[in-house]
Symmetry: C2
């Protein structure tokens, strides 16, 4: 029996998920509903995913008049894939979708940082109460595995801290500034042209995106109970070229580093530009993300990968879906 899947959101990540599922021909999953802001496409026998993608591209996708919330509440599915955009202040509309699905006893997989950063404990407890999974590998590091790495391969290891580069836009800007000796504004303009930075880059360059990820890691991996306001936060807009040059001369680079460590007096929850030796595994270039997971037995484990991208993020969502399928 296949697991019935409902996908809420058909932006970049949603289309990536549909594309990946359409190419897998994996009979463990059957997509019965897809929604976007204009309505829903439904088929309890399984949608033709290639057809949906094509019509979405051509602008002639025939939707029924049902909202995402209608679908979340009414359609018969086993796994909700919630891939609407992040709202760091309210978590909506994703938060409501996730809450309603969990209350109905449905598994939830999301790439949406807002609800996880804002309401992790509530949603975890709701999932537990209803005996379902609430998974969010795609919220941190895109294709770079973090939660699934800790749950599986690092199982049995106590995690004592997590530190790294969790925003590809900032890493791209700092890498270009350092390598080409170009000023911040110029590189930011270039990044916008390339689609690496948003038109309004505040969310990335001021470190809010990284801070949200630190909150998720703190709460979901390290057993803390913190909010976005608790993060000691400095972005990269104040990093001048001179500082990067001086760092370079000393064999260092400057990176926007997020760090979370729960323990007592040395408790750390911060995001800020920091010096990293060029030879350190965290000194990765371009849009790469990198995480240093400090463990009790295995010592320092580094994982590096693409932090964004439609198919890469879909890969993280797929790994959560496969975990759910493995539990049956």
């Amino acid at each position: 029996m296949s697991l019935k899947v409902a996908i809420i959101g058909l932006g970049s990540v949603g289309r990536g998920v549909v594309k990946v599922l359409s190419e897998r021909k994996d009979d463990r999953f059957k997509v019965v509903a897809i929604t976007d802001s204009k309505g829903a496409v439904l088929d309890d026998n399984g949608l033709d995913l290639k057809d949906v993608l094509k019509k979405k591209g051509n602008g002639d996708l025939a939707r029924v008049n049902k909202s995402s919330l209608d679908v979340v509440k009414e359609v018969d599915y086993d796994i909700l894939i919630e891939v609407t955009p992040t709202d760091a202040k309210t978590g909506e509309p994703g938060l409501t979708y996730i809450r309603e699905a969990l209350k109905r006893g449905k598994h939830v997989v999301t790439s949406n940082k807002g609800p996880v950063a804002l309401n992790y404990q509530e949603l975890r407890d709701l999932a537990k109460k209803h005996g379902v999974q609430f998974l969010f590998e795609a919220t941190v590091g895109g294709a770079m595995p973090v939660f699934n790495l800790i749950r599986g391969p690092l199982a049995g290891n106590q995690i004592t801290s997590i530190k790294g580069i969790f925003n590809g836009t900032c890493n791209y800007i700092l890498t270009r500034m350092a390598n080409e000796e170009l000023p911040y504004d110029m590189v930011l303009s270039e990044a916008k042209e390339l689609g690496i930075a948003e038109a309004d880059p505040t969310y990335d360059v001021e470190g809010i995106d990284t801070a949200l990820k630190m909150v998720i890691l703190a709460n979901a991996v390290l057993g803390m109970d913190v909010k976005l306001e608790d993060v000691d936060l400095v972005g990269i807009s104040g990093v001048c070229l001179e500082a990067l040059k001086l760092a370079g001369e000393a064999g260092m680079v400057i990176k926007l580093i997020g760090e979370v460590r729960p323990n007592g007096e040395e408790r750390v929850l911060k995001v800020s530009p920091r010096l990293v030796p060029k030879t350190h595994p965290l000194a990765v270039q371009g849009t790469l993300n990198a995480a240093l997971i400090q463990t009790k037995l295995a010592g320092e484990i580094f994982v590096i990968g693409k932090g964004a991208g439609s198919v890469e993020t879909a890969s993280a969502i797929l790994s959560d879906m496969l975990y759910i399928a493995s539990l049956k």
Copy 2:
């Protein structure tokens, strides 16, 4: 009900496993047998692990007169932890222990590269036939997860190639030579004094250890059917200081790189010193291991960690044990 565990071998890795299990107080596992070359200690109700370690250290461990093979064949256990030393030519004595345990329908977890490199297909089929697990995370990369990373977090991704640094001794030697501008012989002597290189370092510096790991990855992850003789192999003893200096001037380092790629004409199975840009994530220093796993969806995933060490290797064994426990 706990899983009964028999540990074959009480060298560095075996002691690491006993230490880690003694500190976890995990009632999913009960160690009922431990053997070394002098005999066995047995207790069907669970051995006092701290006491075993202490007495092994003091040289007054009271063993019964049973060989490792006797224990493998006769004792009532669920998981065999096979941690005897690697013999690259015959795989013995580990190969026989593993084969006998699998034939009895027991799970096997090993850190022993010989049997996996030599007889992977036979042992995999035997495990399948008897419905048990044959796991060997500790054979490649020590604490650095590879097999469990691919099985769990990267599930759903087709792996197209694996490449990296899989021998900490070689990496230490090449790093010291490059950073300190010291000749090979001098650094090798130093590494021996520090216990980073063996008295006879041939196995590491000639690339045999890395080649065995490539054979394991080729057969177990990439679906190939290859032997040690198939590896295109060059070690690091011919790397001169001048080459490292020239590389350094060009922004590169020289690393002993193992690479395996199964596909058609571009098929690769080789171990050799190669140039790596200093800024590349594989350019890790000291005794670290690093792997680049090329995937279809997630793109390039890098994982970096300690490739050796008693507790680190035990961590890899523990992750395999926990996977088996999760299947119950």
